[in-house]
Symmetry: C2
């Protein structure tokens, strides 16, 4: 809730944002348009993450911009706007989110699913499973392990792709919807702080999804924006895409 | 290309439209914001049509606003914007497009797939198969039969739902992409004229998709906007959603 959190009322890329107005918190560190990432010709944009990014994408095609390979979530909606708006820029957009993944699973497939793709713009949303799977006894990780692994992944990325521009999404959980209750916090907030700290350290744009969903609950219930506290409804997917698109110009 | 075709540069609902600017033709009969359809609380919005509307939707659920049931096309993208922007309005949005359908197939399922749903806003995009299936010998229809059947369908609709607001999309075909070559025209244009005439007769908003795709070809090739001349790419789905959203406020 610092003064770094900036409300951008009329972004060129806003999706359905006009009436939403002052209730929304947007991507941080966007204190001026100059801090947005500029979309250039021939840019390669990669969405990475877990099920929220995956969103039921078709996985047996590696073609960029493929409608079925983009899933049904925020990545698909954001990609559709980019491909329309920047139709003259020959963009290549990929979604490589995989359901259930934590940072170590990203690391296992990072060569093929990130470095080989050579993105100019890399968007990562990871962390809810790092907490959730520990919570339900399927994983031994902690917030510290999450941070250590995440930093190693980014170090590896920046060694191979020193010019890549990073967008880091805050892992989020919407309370009182199915899987998520009060007991998620404050422990889950430690993971969120790690993601925020990492974004700062690595000069990434940070999308504060938790605040964005919290603010959206003033407009409708948590169950309207997520199906289970973790995964997005159609409204929630658009909410995320809208915030993501404010990172670029 | 009449003066009734109005360019609305900064619609409140524009999706990625800002840079597109003067190259786009938008929904007709929108000579002022007052002629747009107002979204009201508890509105029921129904997308009807063929494969372009269907877009791979999950068909075994009848729940409104369901992300998988909305498909991966313009209806899904438009619905996501509506559900975010009008989160306080308790909208119910349905997609009942089915791949391969012509007007007679809509008629066969109209009671269950339209009248029983009781839409306040009904969007129909139908006609490409009425021509295409005739062209390839699978159907005996003509442009006149298309028009007669379409008018009967709308008469039936207005008898059951006299207050419904109509949006009619122009059937379109993008030349020199896979299925579509010069020989589609001028015959296919007869079907397009029928749809346009019907929109006028029934006081529907008319979305001139053919002009919209023609204009988009100044920004990238037809194969960028459609996968086969008939079905949309991700960019084309966004282009259609953008135009659709300009019909409402």
């Amino acid at each position: 809730m610092s003064n770094r959190r900036v409300f951008l009322k009329q972004s060129a890329l806003s999706v359905g944002a006009t009436l939403i107005g002052s209730s929304l918190l947007r991507a941080e560190d966007l204190s001026s348009k100059n801090s947005k990432i500029t979309i250039n010709s021939n840019d390669i944009i990669l969405f990475q993450g877990d099920s929220i990014t995956d969103a039921g994408r078709k996985k047996d095609t590696s073609t960029p911009n493929d409608i079925a390979a983009m899933g049904r979530g925020y990545a698909m909606i954001a990609a559709s706007v980019l491909l329309n708006k920047y139709a003259d820029k020959n963009l290549q957009i990929y979604n490589r989110g995989i359901s259930g993944h934590k940072v170590p699973q990203l690391d296992d497939r990072w060569q093929a699913d990130c470095l080989d793709i050579k993105p100019n713009i890399l968007s990562i949303l990871i962390g809810v499973n790092d907490y959730w799977h520990k919570r339900n006894g399927k994983y031994e990780g902690t917030a510290k392990i999450y941070g250590d692994q995440y930093r190693k992944l980014l170090d590896k990325t920046l060694t191979a792709l020193p010019q890549v521009k990073l967008i880091i999404g805050e892992p989020f959980a919407v309370k009182n919807v199915k899987h998520v209750d009060d007991s998620w916090f404050p422990e889950f907030a430690e993971y969120q702080k790690v993601a925020r700290d990492i974004a700062k350290e690595y000069k990434a744009l940070f999308i504060p999804y938790q605040s964005i969903f919290d603010a959206a609950e003033k407009r409708n219930s948590g169950a309207y924006w997520t199906t289970d506290g973790v995964h997005t409804s159609l409204a929630g997917a658009n909410l995320m895409a809208e915030s993501w698109l404010e990172c670029v110009k």
